[in-house]
Amino acid sequence: MGERADKLKQVRLKTPVSEEDLKSLEIGSVVFLDGLIYTAREGVYEKILNKGETPPVDFTQMTNINFHCAPAAAQNDDGSYNVGAVTATASFRFAKYLKRWFEETGTKVVLGKGGMSQQHYNELFVPAGAVYLTTVGYGTGALLGRGIKSVEAVNWLDELGIAQAMWILRVENFGPLLVESDIHGNSLFERNNAEVNARVESLYEGLRPPALRRYGETRDKTDELI
């Protein structure tokens, strides 16, 4: 890690992450993981939550970290897997699944990209006692790929394809990740956005207004362009 990383708090967490560890996480801390994590996104959520299919594993017995990810991977001729790079996909698209997902799987950590909205933290994460970790960059795919020690299982690979299948991964020193939201719903992104938003007006100061209004900038279809 570089010299700027030394200015940040660093934590190493074992999975499943204990309640005590969850409580102690502070936004902006750097996290590395050891243990099992699983990938699930819309393909898996649809299957289990909306089509009622039986989960291939007992999540409560396995791990409580859901990684929003699609690895760059290929199957070798002997049936094993070659996982090259691993990066997260944008999580906010999956908010509609998470209430039931937390209830049914006991997931306590969502690991992904971009975080969730403050409303989703308040309504989904805080009641579930869950936190959000974000990958860094985005795109530290090689570093995260290095942190994967083995592929324990891949479920629904044929049906869902490499990107949407449910991968169960054993990881070691897997990171860096950042605590984006703590169990109280404090959010690093929301805090940074608020600071940027406060100065937005001044950025546009002195620029003359657009010559015409344009399609796509209003939802009111009775608006005219002129």
Partner: protein, 321 residues
Amino acid sequence: MIKADAIEQAANQIMSNAAIDIPEDYESGIRDMINIEKGDLSAFVLEAMLENWQAARDDRRPMCADSGLPRYYVKAGNNAQIEGGFVELEHRVRRATAQATHDIPLRPNRVHPISRQDNNNNVGMNAPEIEYSFEPDVDWLDITTVHKGGLFGTDYRMLFPGDGIDGIKRFFLDVLLAFGKRGLACQPAIVGVGLGGSKDTSMVLGKQAACLRPVGSRHPDPEIASLEDELKKLGNKTGLGAMGFQGTSTVVDCQIEVGYTHTGGMPMSVHCFCLSSRRATARLHANGEVAYRTDPKWFTPYMRRNTVGWDGGAALAGAAE
């Protein structure tokens, strides 16, 4: 004669070079940004990226798992002869795409837009895209691959002459603010701007500016070059750093390409080429020699000509690129 086997081999090689090796111009641009970045979180993110690129080089693994939508830019010398012609070239490039997707491995990102069916090889209908340009008086063939992600960081707007430079700045800021928050543009980005042409031309020029010009290059027209400087500076004033954390690291460089446009309009596009700015080029010579590089050298004086005929580029001689 440039052999079809050589084309396939070079296409395979640039797929791997692009996926694994960050171009030196981009990496050195990011090192410069770290030195002036005051935001610790933003600087930490950039340091992690440096470490990531090193890990990719050491392990020969892709730098990012979202290996984007692999595509190609082919520049053919006017005197180049290709074994089997361009149909064979396209066949070999498609085959290399499928092979490299498995071997590197890349993520098979290409799916049918409605059924979401995946051929698992990044090949499909109208994919990968292959764009062509030509170069007078030479007999080589340049093949460039670009692996760019596709969800966030690009937008298009029809501006009007009355919008002027202010309108350009306004839309530039709109895009960076919309996609820079939470780092969705995966910034700091090479921000490409397409100005003019038709709507589609402005999109194509902006995309090519972002993906095919190295950090530090400048448009040969001094007015456009100074607008590139100005937009770069403006884009780093939004307060957004890497991942949208407080900072000054959003635009590692701004590249603008212009095309003559409708007298009543000024179409503009903005494209962010991300923290994994993946591009690699091979030049194939008729004698079998192949040379690899990271600067596609796509926008030649011939491509940017402003005349009916071609006078050998005398008017642009001594230009920055």
